[in-house]
């Protein structure tokens, strides 16, 4: 445990020494949320006859806040972990750790611990900023939202570790993480709301994990109850990506 705590602390310091990643992980979701809040406001939009209901008929900002908590977790998992782990793999840091017989659970556990901490801070920043600056309703089910958040953190940690395991180089891992992040952001209800998307957009988004993450936390937050299906999908993503990463790292 002493070694786990020390390595995690080292990883936190290494993360803080990468200013661009820090700014991105914490700043980007805040900036996006600010833009969306200023454009769409907090008053539910009444659709013209024949138009679809947008933002599930609720306050636009209220709709976006839980989604951006999920997005903050995605940023931590996809922007930080893949490039970091791929660099460890490529430059022999992992081999050096293994030669010192540092157990795999400590090496990867410290990454996940840092990712979870960043997600928590990122999600908290989004929440605090939104409630401080705008008048929106409190989450309906705090427990349901927190449970969903844990599933989201686990899923994006697993995706990040898997990308770091299979991508051939740190640059490729970084590129894949960033691209996946932005494609998902546009198609998962954190860009245009899901209810105004075309069926094709929604279908593509449904193949990506962020849409499930957004729905998993949005439903309890906005009062639609626990979304077991989405929690199950997130758990499945965690298991599959975790297994993939384990296999890939074992093989090296």
């Amino acid at each position: 445990m002493r070694l786990f705590r020390l390595l995690t602390w080292v990883e936190v310091k290494l993360f803080l020494r990468e200013p661009l990643t820090v700014v991105f992980a914490f700043g980007f979701p805040l900036v996006m949320l600010f833009v969306l809040a200023e454009v769409f406001g907090t008053v539910p939009v009444v659709p013209d006859p024949g138009d679809p209901v947008a933002f599930r008929g609720l306050s636009p900002l209220g709709y976006y806040v839980p989604g951006y908590i999920a997005l903050a977790a995605a940023a931590a998992g996809l922007i930080m972990i893949p490039a970091h782990l791929a660099a460890y793999r490529e430059s022999g840091v992992l081999r050096r750790f293994r030669a010192a017989a540092i157990p795999a659970w400590i090496i990867f556990g410290s990454q996940v611990a840092v990712e979870a901490a960043l997600s928590l801070i990122g999600g908290a920043l989004v929440t605090v900023a939104a409630y401080a600056a705008y008048d929106i309703a409190a989450p309906v089910s705090v427990v349901g939202s927190l449970v969903a958040f844990l599933f989201i953190v686990a899923a994006f940690a697993a995706i990040g570790v898997a990308l770091g395991a299979v991508m051939p180089s740190p640059r490729a891992a970084q590129g894949a993480g960033v691209m996946l992040f932005f494609v998902m952001m546009m198609l998962s209800g954190t860009g245009p709301p899901l209810d105004v998307m075309t069926p094709l957009m929604r279908d593509i988004g449904a193949a990506l994990p962020l849409q499930h993450a957004v729905l998993a936390v949005q439903d309890p937050w906005l009062g639609f109850g626990w979304n077991w299906l989405q929690l199950g999908i997130l758990a499945g993503v965690t298991v599959v990506c975790g297994a993939l990463a384990t296999l890939a790292f074992r093989r090296q």
């Binding site: 070694l3 020390l6 660099a87 540092i102």
Partner: protein
């Protein structure tokens, strides 16, 4: 198996696809010695030590370190074995003192890592990031990390690569001091001068096999062949060939070359002095480990 063997390698075999990297390799390393694994690039040295470091699983044979199967139970060796790997880096933004502190935590109990800073000339660099160190400083840090916590066995893979001549000599002295404290050291190198200076015994590897193992002096003596003595002088020195130890005497311009076996220099010097001759440049060429290596492997390091 001898009683004081801390490393036992028996019939080790490792292949990468169809290429056999290590082929039926056996050797023992005794407690407190510096054991050298010599060979050209691709001879199988690094693969052999990686099996001992628990980084690779051999297909056949055994690789035991301190009585532990290194590939199967690497965790049992944690803190007892130190490694400096070839071509391994640390995280770019990790600072020197943080690296030492982190690796010190892998050993059980409290470990004093501060003295290593001074011993390895890193005191002024303690707050520098790994990526900001020069090649030599990085190499010194990586060797220092392998010594954190006074391990019983240390593997050093090309430890002086990237060091300037002065730093190499300093490093040799430091490694000898580590050995003198009772640590067993396995030194992988393709620098023959380094092996000759440091190693108590060496194994010469070629194309995945061990072709010879002994002390450097014994290897040199066994493979040395003719001893060559030269000096300059006027006149005919053909009479030197009558000495039992001398095989031939040849003149090359002003130079006279005497070939023989054994302590040729002593006998030639005595015979010359008997006739009142004392050429100031009388000398013998001591065969080096490098020449011995070339004879043993039948090809150069660059092959």
């Amino acid at each position: 198996m001898t009683d004081d063997a801390v490393i036992v390698v028996q019939n080790l075999r490792k292949t990468y696809g169809s290429r056999v990297a290590v082929d039926d390799v056996s050797f023992e390393v005794r407690r407190g010695e510096i054991f050298g694994l010599l060979g050209s690039n691709g001879a199988g040295k690094t693969t052999t030590v990686e099996c001992l470091e628990g980084l690779r699983r051999p297909e056949g044979g055994a690789a035991r370190v301190l009585g532990v199967d290194a590939a199967a139970r690497p965790e049992k060796l944690r803190g007892r074995v130190g490694c400096q790997l070839q071509d391994s880096r640390l995280p770019d933004r990790l600072r020197v003192w943080e690296a030492l502190q982190l690796f010190a935590a892998t050993a059980p109990g409290r470990v004093e890592w501060e003295p290593l800073l001074a011993a390895w000339g890193l005191t002024e660099k303690r707050n520098d990031a790994f990526s900001g160190l020069s090649g030599g400083q990085r190499q010194r840090l990586l060797v220092a990390l392998s010594l954190v916590g006074d391990p019983e066995v240390v593997f050093l893979d090309e430890m002086t690569t990237g060091l300037d001549p002065g730093a190499r000599r300093t490093t040799w002295g430091l490694i000898e001091a580590v050995r003198d404290r009772g640590t067993t050291i396995v030194l992988v190198t393709h620098f023959m001068d380094e092996a000759e200076r440091l190693c108590d015994r060496v194994a010469v590897m070629d194309r995945g096999r061990i072709v010879a193992q002994d002390s450097p002096a014994a290897l040199i003596a066994a493979e040395a062949g003719a001893v060559r003595v030269t000096f300059t002088g006027d006149g005919d020195f053909g009479w030197l060939a009558e000495l039992p130890i001398v095989d031939s005497v040849t003149r090359h311009g002003a130079w006279v070359e005497v070939l023989g076996e054994g302590p040729v220099l002593n006998h030639v010097a005595a015979a010359l002095l008997e006739r009142g001759l004392a050429p100031f440049d009388l000398q013998t060429e001591r065969p080096t480990l490098e020449e011995t290596f070339l004879k043993l492997t039948g090809h150069g390091l660059e092959d």
